[in-house]
Amino acid sequence: MRYIKNEWIKLWSQKTAWMLTIFLCLLVVGVGAVTKYYEKPLTTPEDRRNANQAELDNYQSLVNDPAIPEEELSFYREEILKLEYRIANDLLPASEMGFDTFMDMGLQMSLALGAMFMIVIAASILSKEFSTGTIKMLLTRPVARWKILLSKLVTVFIFGGFVIFIGAVLTAILGFLFWGSDTVGSLTIVNGAVVQENMTDSYMNLILYSIPSIILNTLLSFMLGAIFGSSTLAVGIALLIAFLSNTILYFIAKYEFAKYLWFANDIRQFMPGSTPVIEDLTLGFSMIVCIVYAIVFVVVTFLHFQKRDVTA
């Protein structure tokens, strides 16, 4: 615990952690303010009803158009059902920004940036001690090497959780200030009836399904930082994989081995409403692949660090 405190203090005594956190905050505020500034507010129930009604009329005319093929009609009919639900419940049109849609956007931003920041910090938190030579002051204490390594890894996760939490809270505050209780609502049709999704559930889903890839990318970056002793190289490789994983997958998806790669098993593709990149992947299989890779990354990192001679 005291070692985690040490790492936490060192982290916040350096500029990087502050810059990253402030960057995320500015981005959330910026996006919120810009959206709010350019939107034509639909503040009264009449405004909202008229906007929804206009869209409803549009779909009505499409449905009555004999030139529209049959298979598209069912889609339009569902949209009409949803719009009627919006009018009945005084919801904003789906194209507008409301508290809930802003919250969703802010969460996605916080998760994406938080994941990136964790890669950056994970790569540098150990390798920086090597490049500055402070590692020798750290390892000549009555504290086993694995404890020091673990405290650093835990600190990275606390940092990530903290940054994402800050982003989410800031989003909630701004969303409330700008849009109050105006909600767009996310509607689905179940057995011919309109159902409004519970927003808290969908936020929780977003967070839960994102966590595995965040953890894996962090562990990978931490491992590369420990092995190369250079944060630049580790950050570079880890970020590249994090950003280009979909592009890489696009090219290698046809090979059998692709489904055994950790980034092919991003759990986010199993979120309600998404389809996996490689068709025969299942949630269970992907979970197992992720766990195996997590264990491999951690074991390699700890073994390597435990055994190496420190000459810094």
């Binding site: 203090i9 005594s13 390892l139 000549t140 001679d309």
Partner: protein, 302 residues
């Protein structure tokens, strides 16, 4: 003799097929200051890295305070304070925060202890400033503070006089002597320059090419040579008779034991020889050291 606090037994280290430390055996005792002397590249730092767990021996054993470094690292290192090469502190934090950081890694280092050590190394005026504003001398002091924070029984200093001015070195010597005597600490100071540390150490261990080539205790009182300068050199020759004597500057160096000196002075007085000066000559260790390690070649041995 007291029980040794540190024992190094048959220590070997090879890096990439190069045998860097060769079968080193060495013990360190409480209250004793040992100079670990050897030319650059002799293997001093490598030995120290193994004594502090930064490097692992290829074979051999290091026992500190009864605990094996290999099997009980935390217990073995608990009573060791060390500066390996230059003290590298976290430059973006204050000296005080650095000390707090290291204090958290030891048991029982109180705030009072931190304040005390800050006063002892004379950093109280600047301790709350960031380390990046410190001079080299101040960094050395802070390095000493972090090494002594937890009251170690064994203090390891690797080339500690690097970057200190002569006044700083003198103060440093005095301070180390004091803590060795008062707290019965065993101290090892490595250096490639014997001259800088010969006045403070009780014994020296000389390493060359990874091999320990000599260990000797220094007894400053057994000086057996004196320099003497007189007006009447012929009378002096007559009085000292058969003793070995050689001219040196304006006088002579004679081999004579300390208890015989008063008798010699009385004899000179009776013969009306005018004595300008007489003083003991230390046989300079530095000369011996250079002789042993091969003189001018000391920086180029592999």
């Amino acid at each position: 003799m007291k029980k040794p606090i540190v024992e190094i037994k048959n220590l070997n280290k090879s890096i990439k097929g190069k045998h860097i430390i060769k079968d080193l055996n060495l013990s360190f005792y409480p209250g004793q200051i040992t100079g670990f002397i050897g030319p650059n590249g002799a293997g001093k730092t490598t030995t120290i890295r193994m004594m502090t767990g930064l490097m692992y021996p290829t074979s051999g054993e290091i026992i500190i305070d009864g605990h094996s470094m290999k099997n009980h690292f935390e217990d073995a290192i608990r009573h060791v304070g060390v500066i390996v090469e230059n003290p590298e502190m976290y430059k973006y934090m204050s000296g005080y925060k650095n000390l707090q950081h290291f204090a958290r890694m030891h048991e029982g280092v109180t705030k009072e202890r931190i304040d005390e050590i800050v006063r002892q190394v004379g950093l109280e005026n600047r301790i709350h400033e960031k380390v990046k504003t410190y001079s080299l001398g101040m960094r050395q002091r802070l390095g000493l503070a972090q090494a002594l924070l937890h009251n170690p029984k064994f203090l390891i200093l690797d080339e500690p006089t690097n970057g200190l001015d002569p006044a700083g070195i003198r103060e440093f010597r005095f301070y180390l002597r004091k803590i060795a005597e008062e707290q019965d600490i065993s101290i090892i100071i490595s250096s490639h320059m014997l001259g800088e540390i010969e006045q403070i150490v009780d014994r020296i261990a000389i390493i060359q090419n990874g091999e320990l080539i000599d260990i000797r205790e220094l007894h400053q009182e057994t000086i057996s040579q004196y320099y003497i300068e007189v007006a009447q050199t012929d009378e002096l020759q007559a009085i000292i008779g058969e003793r070995p004597v050689k001219p040196y500057e304006k006088g002579f160096i004679i081999d004579i034991e300390k208890p015989e000196v008063p008798a010699l002075l009385r004899a000179l007085h009776e013969e009306n020889v005018d004595v300008f000066s007489i003083h003991p000559v230390q046989q300079r260790l530095e000369d011996q050291f250079i002789e042993m390690t091969g003189g001018g070649a000391i920086d180029a041995i592999h």
